[in-house]
Symmetry: D2
Subunit: 220 residues, 4 copies
């Protein structure tokens, strides 16, 4: 009954034709559960996937610029025109300057896009919460891609991040990420006060991504 | 009878629905001249435009990474799978590290993608030529978007860039950019030894982009 | 009776021999007032100035790395060994990633160095305060170097930044910057709840920096 | 009879008091050989070391900016005023944009500072040579700090880099780096056509740096 956001990163298994397949899998699984499932495919696949599936599609990154002379960038306005739901902001593999996170969170609010600001610990979660995004997704970098779930390895990081975020901003929702792959990881995250999880390799690089996603949300 | 590459940048006039319109205009004009016309729309519009037009479509930027844990990036392989012809590399608004330009030029050669490396003066044009890309596009930054054509303001920059590039690498083709908007600018560039032009605002932000592009290639 | 931190930037008037002169001026003025005056000269001048004056000397920037294979960087430990009091962090001309600001603030606390985190508006001031630095210095970027004092142009930015910072973290002290040059600007900043000011060109680029600094602290 | 440039990086063994010790060791060894020995200590130690030793002192990095509103930077002019001989430019741990390398090489020529541009392979060595620096130092990144000398692991990289550089610019001198620590590594580099070596950990992190440097230049 939580939130699951699936970051395809630019794994080969999550790019191009594989991205489309994975998006369809996520759509299918989402139709059979009460959990919210959103996906974040590569920017180059975004438009085609938005046109092909009915679930919410997020960008993995957006640039802190306006329309103009900025070759090779993507603005919030461009995401909205394509029909994206929102974007990850400040992912650990695409860290942003504080002023740029703030620029994007404000702009997203104005454009009714959903902001998911990634952070790396309790202090940065509190800081991000102060900017008033929709979600903060806390991911201890050392656990990303490790298969060791943050909800098990550092339950106190999750609990204290939720508390620190709510202390600063009672409306912000907290996701937890890094190492999440099983239903137990997910349920533990919810028990610790998170609204859900942000995950990637646990599903995208699974031998059978469909089975992995079904397992995550408790369908198996 | 030269090469025209049209960079849409992320001007509002060259994004989303406007990007598609502009792509169709370029395709139409290209069908009526012997000149080669390629376009470089925003990454988020790339896939839909490639599917919709028959002319060559370039990315504006590509990241110097392989498939993997790199949230929010675009690889050369992803461009190829979508059917892009190639990409601008190192545009003045998206400068890259020397090692990354080299990584991309090598990778493009391997994948049969066309590399268009942008530079800012004679010395960097020679340096870029040493990396063996398909094109080097020299654009004095102070003239970009100025409406003052490099082929008129600094004809010696164009001539000497062509000479410097060919001295280092006789196979490389040189484009010139910055301030190009009229047929005369274009013809002058060819006369100075360039293979063609890279331009943006002169067409994309023109009141009537179709007329501007027709004028550029001498249809009016 | 407030705090004045003077950023020399890398103005020619604040570099090399000029940096030393300016440091001596600041030391002299500091000896004649109750206000706290600290200075932030270029990194390359830091060690010699620390050895030459008795007032607190800050770095303008420090890198979010540990000792090791990081050619061309400066660590917090290196600042401490030289005897620096602390450093500006995230100046608008040297913006940092959120995770790196947090890294530095934590490290500074551990090493008993003073952290002065620069921000650009109310929201980022609150976010920075959540990281628990010693100071947050709010500087609306459009006013930096403008000669228009933030305390006059946007008194509500100062007041609300102080309030937002204290709401998140009652211990954090707020400086205000951008456009500050007169005693009135400084006093207004204190009246609005700030602990003091961060300034640069108003003194460093003044015709007579000594007179300008004396004027700022009310000696004229 | 070659050139040895010793990069202190920001190893703890090469910072602060240790940097001064290491500088004195390098000066002492230099006085006993015909080889040229230059050192590149951390920027924060630069001024004090320049004042204390008679050998050439290089910066590890310099920023591609002019004097002005650039908090936390170092300009070429600042290096010259302090008496630095020159700087490493584009070290693999501090890679620069192509346009910025060109800016710095030109500026250094104007100011009579010595430019040592680091590169990572044959192609980038040729590209850097086209910018007309004093030295290009080729260092395959995978060998840096490995203890496996490039002159042994990839002799053809050294030979072909020298050839490629000279083809583009007969005046440029080539150093080789990465994994260099013994006299044999150094002699082999000279035999392969390099003018000398750029090294770091092999001496800086040696148990006995003095012995290591003496060994390198054949004093033991």
């Amino acid at each position: 009954m939580g939130v699951v956001i699936l970051n395809f990163k630019i794994y080969e298994e999550g790019s191009g034709k594989n991205a489309m397949k994975l998006a369809k899998i996520a759509e299918d699984v989402a139709s059979r559960v009460d959990d919210y499932i959103g996906i974040a495919p590569p920017s180059i696949d975004l438009a085609e996937i938005i046109n092909a599936v009915s679930i919410d599609v997020y960008a993995q990154h957006v640039d802190a610029v306006e329309f103009g002379s900025h070759t090779g960038r993507i603005t919030a306005e461009m995401l909205r025109e394509k029909g994206a739901k929102g974007s990850l902001i400040n992912h650990s593999e695409r860290r942003l300057k504080l002023a740029d996170i703030d620029f994007l969170v404000s702009k997203f609010r104005e454009l009714s896009l959903t902001s998911v600001v990634c952070t790396n610990n309790i202090a940065t979660t509190a800081a991000a919460a102060a900017l008033n995004p929709d979600y903060v997704a806390v991911e201890p970098p050392e656990l990303i891609g490790s298969g060791i779930p943050v909800s098990k390895a550092e339950p106190e990081t999750v609990e204290n991040s939720v508390r620190a975020a709510k202390d600063v901003n009672s409306k912000v929702k907290v996701l937890c990420g890094a190492g999440i792959s099983t239903h137990e990881d997910y349920v533990t995250a919810l028990d610790l006060g998170a609204e859900g999880v942000l995950l990637a390799s646990g599903v995208v690089k699974a031998k059978d991504p469909k089975k992995a996603l079904e397992e995550l949300v408790g369908l198996r």
